[in-house]
Symmetry: C2
Subunit: 433 residues, 2 copies
């Protein structure tokens, strides 16, 4: 018998039929002998509808009240889900984030979990009940106000609760079968990944893979918690995100339960990101400390930058160009922040470009396999795709391209590393980096 | 400066426009220099929609989960209302029943308030904020589960909170101008009552007047709290329910602020009720203790009975008939409970009649004025309306009629006691009981 935490997103519980389907699924898990804790998001478009309602009364809803409003969405879904499970003859009890002991800071709309004290959940499990918990929400430690965790918050709730309860697995149910080697909408031959390390999953998430949020993977990694990403619409085994063995009693795939197969695949997958823009600071005096001034100005505006490239200085002019990428949503803030220090730094002008895309290749096997970068660059070169910026980590290579060349770049890289699916698609060994 | 608790029902906040209108009204009160606490119901049909959703997943939703579901309705309305007030430049903070300190027993769906500990509301007021509180809900003392107070629960929340905060008034906003001498849909000439004693209002509520729930009036009476029933759609002075003086700084009608005008009106108004049925137990052995057995059986089924009539025993047979009225909704339960004790008690049969109506005349002045009953009965007699059951208290006369004669009965009584409106409609002195 295991302790299983399951998280169902809004699309899985979009209507009463969806709720009943999910309830049957939860009942199956319980009847298989497991303790079950369920984290659920708001039904379908509820959150958008609530935001729309707020905007009908004010253009600037106070963050505290917006959190109070939005958290009613999960309150509805969790109560209805508990009812549907009770209707199947099993006891289910719903709990708000506050009741479940999800303690956060006071940053409304983007609160961070400080602690999880799931005493009431534990009691429910001890009494053989299924616990249903509202995702995405908590209660602030200082003010006791209701908070929300921001985007992907329900996944974080599930992982944090699973960690606090020392669960055997956190199952994240979604509308696809798992994590793919690339977005199947761009690469129709993309293959479902059976197993991926947390390090690789972190890089995938950080570089545009939307299936799991970065903070949720970080949390699971810190607590050594296996995540199983799978579909609520099928019973297929999904993708295990874990650095240890897959719990044998929770998998139908005996191979995946063995710790460390002979050789790890070099490449996990290809991620892409269209959400970034590029700012180029043109004509920066090439003197020590100048680049630091630029990034201090950006950091003070609380903007997270991603890639940075500094061109080689043109000796005659004593000036250079500095480019960096950042979320498009923060582009205008960054431009304004830099404009304010233009005179002090003495650069010539700013160029803002939001027509970029980023393709990333990720895999822990790169560490020990030379030649991966060369193969990556060659794949793009053969398609005549220009690489505008390059950034690498030990287990990742990322390249910025024109936005309209991004899909082609993803397909080129996916194909070059033989990730395209068929029976034996998993890449063991290989040509190296 | 006064402390004013205002309660707005679902029809006042049915949509964003309604919410904004109510927000302006609250802002006016705050800007007039008062401290303001607002209790709000769910928007428009939200509660019905949530019940409908529950019924889509189960025919028998568990009471705990139904409460969890339904309380999301007030969570939405209170947050949106707080936003709308903030948009007018005043600070408003919303609080759930639990946050507002509304402590109840654990009877889900019909919880009773045990205590109110409004520490957070007091703090909000001290910080010059308007407090918005979810009506209809609380948290159970024992289980810490979310509860609902049942029908009319938001009024009770408002009155209980006003009592705990020692507010100067509890204003109940509704879609009519106040309490009328009779239902204006039946008696178009019915007159708005400027002021009514809590005792009279209790009898009005207990006998079918729907504008205020019985328990809310009881609560206010116990705490000597003035209630002001008024319309959220106009600025007219409404009806004051109070045994003491009307607070002079909260009324635009100086006459009503004087304690005890020269003479109280004899009659407050005419109430009617179509929600009851009549059960007649036919052929009951006329021996001591038999009637007690009948009502014990009904009481064990937790049914509240209203009027009781026992016919004079027919000497020859040694048997009598016992009739009583009760809520129609509990009729079948009562019939079943009595059927089970039929043999033990030895009565002949049961008759169930749900085609009855009840008309009641209420006024504290009856106490000291003989002749009121005679005039009441004469008014019905002149219209050839048969009186099936009669019940009286010190300040009330009630008569059961055929359901289809009820409207006529209400008009006859209203007219006989000269309650019909015009400038000088208030009845001082009079013909006596």
């Amino acid at each position: 018998m295991a302790l299983v935490v399951q998280k169902y997103g809004g699309s899985s519980v979009a209507d009463a039929e969806g709720v009943k389907r999910v309830a049957r699924r939860i009942a199956e898990t319980k009847r298989a002998g497991h303790d079950v804790v369920v984290v659920v998001s708001a039904m379908g478009d509820t959150t958008d509808e609530l935001i729309d309602l707020a905007q009908q009364v004010t253009p600037m809803p106070p963050a505290r009240e917006l959190d109070m409003l939005l958290t009613s969405g999960e309150r509805i879904s969790m109560a209805v889900l508990a009812m549907a499970i009770n209707n199947l003859g099993l006891e289910a009890r719903s709990f708000t984030g506050s009741q479940a002991g999800v303690i956060t800071d006071s940053a409304h709309g983007k609160a961070r979990i400080i602690d999880v004290t799931p005493g009431r959940i534990r009691t429910a499990l001890d009494e053989d009940a299924i616990a249903i918990v509202a995702g995405f929400q908590g209660v602030s430690q200082d003010t006791k106000d209701i908070t929300t965790l921001g985007r992907g918050g329900s996944d974080t709730t599930a992982v944090a609760l699973a960690a606090a309860l020392k669960a055997d697995v956190c199952e994240i149910y979604t509308d696809v079968d798992g994590v793919y080697t690339a977005d199947p909408r761009i690469v129709p031959t993309a293959r479902k990944i059976d197993r991926i390390t947390s390090e690789e999953m972190l890089e995938m998430a950080a570089n545009g893979a939307k299936i799991l949020m970065l903070r949720c993977v970080e949390y699971a990694r810190n607590y050594d918690l296996p995540i199983h990403v799978r579909s609520s619409f099928s019973h297929h085994e999904g993708t295990w995100v874990t650095d240890g063995p897959v719990p044998a009693h929770l998998t139908s795939n005996p191979q995946s339960s063995q710790e460390g197969t002979v050789e790890q695949p070099i490449i996990a997958g290809v991620a892409h990101d269209r959400s970034e823009a590029k700012i180029t600071v043109v004509g920066v005096p090439d003197t020590p400390g100048t680049a630091a001034q630029i990034f201090e100005a950006v950091a003070e505006a609380e903007i997270n930058i991603d890639m940075i490239v500094q061109n080689v200085s043109v000796a005659a002019s004593g000036r250079t160009d500095v480019s960096f990428t950042l979320p498009k949503a923060e582009g205008q803030t960054a431009v304004a922040a830099l404009d304010r220090v233009k005179a002090a730094i003495g650069f010539e002008r700013l160029e803002y470009d939001d027509q970029i895309g980023k393709v990333s290749l990720i895999g822990v096997g790169m560490r020990s396999h030379p030649g991966v970068s060369a193969k990556f660059f060659k794949a793009l070169g053969e398609r005549k795709i220009n690489m505008e910026m390059i950034s690498t980590s030990e287990i990742r290579i990322s390249v910025v391209t024109r936005a309209d060349e991004l899909d082609d770049a993803v397909r080129a890289v996916h194909s070059a590393f033989e990730l395209d699916g068929e029976a034996e698609a998993t890449v063991y060994g290989g040509t190296g980096r």
